[in-house]
């Protein structure tokens, strides 16, 4: 999975491309936790080009959310496909994450 990173003002935007699964979750966890630990407290994850997320990926998001909360930070997710949206609903993650349609909305929300 490729992750592109850019800044939108004070917000760090990560765009995920490909699959966030057991194979790629570890690497993404390191990257995401690293960003949070370095003080990036306003994060947006753009799922517009994410094909697939498995429970391994959801686990990473949950860990990041907990760590962000401890650091008084905020994270929002955007651009989900119908399938990924369904996965978030089933797992109950849609009620613990801020989810928006567009990156603009997410950036404004954090």
């Amino acid at each position: 999975m490729e992750v592109t990173e850019r800044r939108d003002g004070e917000v760090t935007v990560l765009e995920l491309v490909g699959k966030l699964d057991s194979n790629t979750a570890k690497g993404f966890e390191e990257r995401l936790m690293g960003l949070i630990d370095k003080g990036n407290s306003r994060l947006v994850l753009d799922f517009g080009r994410l094909d697939y997320i498995s429970s391994a990926g959801l686990r990473v998001l949950l860990m990041a959310a907990k760590r962000l909360k401890a650091a008084s930070g905020r994270m929002a997710l955007c651009g989900m496909s119908e399938h990924i949206r369904e996965v978030f609903e089933i797992s109950g993650f849609s009620s613990i994450f801020a989810i928006h349609g567009t990156q603009q909305e997410s950036v404004a929300a954090v």
Binding site: N23, Y52, R59
Partner: protein
């Protein structure tokens, strides 16, 4: 039209990408609706990961079989292995209503697979674990709060999903 895919994989998590790719290609060539295909790929990924992780403890020398068949609008996935008895349906369901602070990490894989599939059954027979998942097209997962998917319990030791 009836089509079939049979794979034998080593019990190593490194095999999951190969499994996912093969299954994705199979669904594409069978013209399965994209969303249904993605739901199936995810369920297969999650269950195969559990087989490898809990059934064998990541023993690359051991192998397990995945058989996928399409019959009209229904897809059937069988995961058959010789690991120690392991019924993934007995893994407790996570509390998907708990808040961020209370939410434990883990336990989601089987839950996702069960909710995405129309029916999931497990049977232990002839020294093997046999997990069978069915998905009918047009049968999308019900909303997260409350409802359970319709599942079957067989009389001969097979187990369907759990009702609250």
């Amino acid at each position: 039209m009836s089509e079939r895919l049979e794979l034998t994989l080593h019990c190593s998590l490194d095999e999951i990408p190969r499994l996912v790719e093969a299954v994705e290609g199979f669904f594409e060539s069978n013209g399965l609706p994209l969303r249904m295909g993605m739901d199936l790929v995810l369920a297969i990924d999650e269950m195969a990961t559990n087989v490898i992780t809990y059934g064998y403890g990541d023993d690359a020398a051991a192998t397990f079989d995945v058989i996928v068949s399409v019959d009209g609008s229904e897809v059937t996935v069988e995961i058959i292995d010789c690991g120690k008895p392991f019924n993934p349906l007995e893994i407790p369901e996570p509390d998907t209503g708990s808040s961020l602070e209370d939410r434990p990490i883990g336990g989601l894989g089987v839950h996702l697979a069960r909710r995405l599939m129309t029916r999931v059954e497990y049977r232990r027979e002839s020294g093997k674990n046999r997990l069978v998942m069915h998905k009918r097209s047009g049968d999308d997962a019900p909303p997260a709060a409350g409802a359970d998917p319709d599942t079957e319990t067989g009389r001969d030791g097979t187990q369907g999903g759990r009702r609250p």
